[in-house]
């Protein structure tokens, strides 16, 4: 439910979302060098496919957002990756909408960028070490997953509430439903990061020659 459909949000929210997303996308594209395009595109495709996996949770199942993991692995390139995924989902799968694309991108990309800023340098330093520390990788991945999903949930709720006071109950339902999602996302992201540290630490060091987020 991370994709808000069209027709729900008010014009000021839609316009601010579109403006900020366009700005972020502009910065991200400028930082993305041509040589890195294939890599960013293939990883974006991988995240798209991985987000379709249904993960059992209690009596039902959930789909992961993976924006925390994207922030960790892709840094700024997470922004176009998220935008591309959302555009394709809106046009071909009916998730989300056209005019809300900006808000939806922002709600997923901003947490990814925050994770990239806070946790990515730690992870990259750890990937340089000769003796990998599984437990810390699990912690960093877990924090990234929980943080990104909770932030996305809050931003989603904020987009609704800023569009109208009447959305308060719906926003509350959404935030509540994001808490179990954040926990499972944290767990799986931690497992993925620990796995990558063991199997392919190069994936954790992708930075295209630029340091920092």
């Amino acid at each position: 439910m991370a994709h808000i459909p069209d027709g729900v949000l008010s014009a000021p929210v839609l316009i601010s979302g579109a403006l900020v997303s366009t700005g972020l996308l502009g910065v991200a594209l400028r930082r993305l060098r041509e040589a890195e395009l294939p890599q960013a595109a293939v990883l974006a495709a991988a995240f798209f496919v991985a987000s379709l996996i249904s993960v059992p949770l209690g009596p039902s199942s959930v789909h992961l957002l993976l924006n925390g993991l994207m922030g960790l692995l892709l840094g700024w390139a997470a922004v176009p990756a998220i935008f591309v995924a959302l555009l394709l989902q809106a046009v071909f799968f009916g998730f989300g909408g056209l005019l809300v694309l900006g808000v939806n991108t922002l709600n997923l990309a901003l947490p990814a960028l925050l994770v990239a800023r806070l946790l990515r340098p730690m992870l990259q330093r750890m990937a340089e070490l000769s003796s990998p520390q599984q437990r810390r990788a699990l912690m960093i991945g877990g924090t990234a997953g929980v943080l990104a999903v909770l932030l996305t949930g809050l931003m989603l709720a904020a987009s609704l509430v800023l569009s109208g006071e009447a959305f308060w109950p719906a926003a509350r339902v959404i935030v509540l439903s994001f808490i179990p999602l954040a926990l499972i996302e944290g767990l799986v992201t931690g497992i993925v990061v620990a796995f990558l540290l063991r199997v392919e630490p190069a994936l954790l060091r992708l930075d295209g020659g630029r340091h920092g987020a």
Partner: protein, 261 residues
Amino acid sequence: MLAEHGDRLAGFDPRARLILAALLALTVVSLQTSSAGSIALLAAGAIARLGGVSPQRLRYLLPLELLMLVLLLTLPFSVPGTPLLTFGPLVASREGGLLALLILFKANAVVLILFGLVGSLGAGAAVHALARLGLPSKLCQMLLLTLRQIDLVGDEYARMRLAMRARAFVPRSDRHSWRALGWLIGMLLVRSLARARRVADAMRCRGFDGQLRLPQRLRWRRRDTLLLLGALPLLAGLLLLDRWGWGGWTGWAESRLAGGV
């Protein structure tokens, strides 16, 4: 890829279809009455039909309806207005119900418009038209590459999933399953990175220099201009109806009944 069969709008320039889709979406989103919303939904259904959207595709609308359900269940109680139903201390208002209905109509209408006008173009043609309309070339390249790779990475995923099934993996809500799925995602990423390196090498071998080359030439014809010009008065009419109205369906029915008596 992903193109629909029986697209009866294929005669129009893809750019005209994208512009029309944006105009329609903008109009639909700015509607304020559920009566106008219902007309928009009917029109969007007709457009989807013209675009040859198959009924199977409509099942993609289900996740959307889940969020709609949350709104339909909460909005009547959170919008103050004329009471319609009362459950103990909870009062469902007519205004809240109408607002929920309006949102339901608008959200579905926009998705149907996108399916009919953009989705049915097929991904390649749609991105092509976006590039011609001025979307940054890096973004277009990423769209095209990602689209292609989703198919390939999807195959890779299906293969790995099959291997897990062959080892009797059944996903359950336990630690073992979550770890297995985490490793699956990790492995998918590892293989994707290897694939990305091969793709990048292959692209360089074929002289990739970061430029986006668009081999097809699009032709904007008079009918494309006419399509857009024809749509404008219809959209304006819908907006006028929405603002000054004809009293909505109930008002319309009442006036018909009054006239009949």
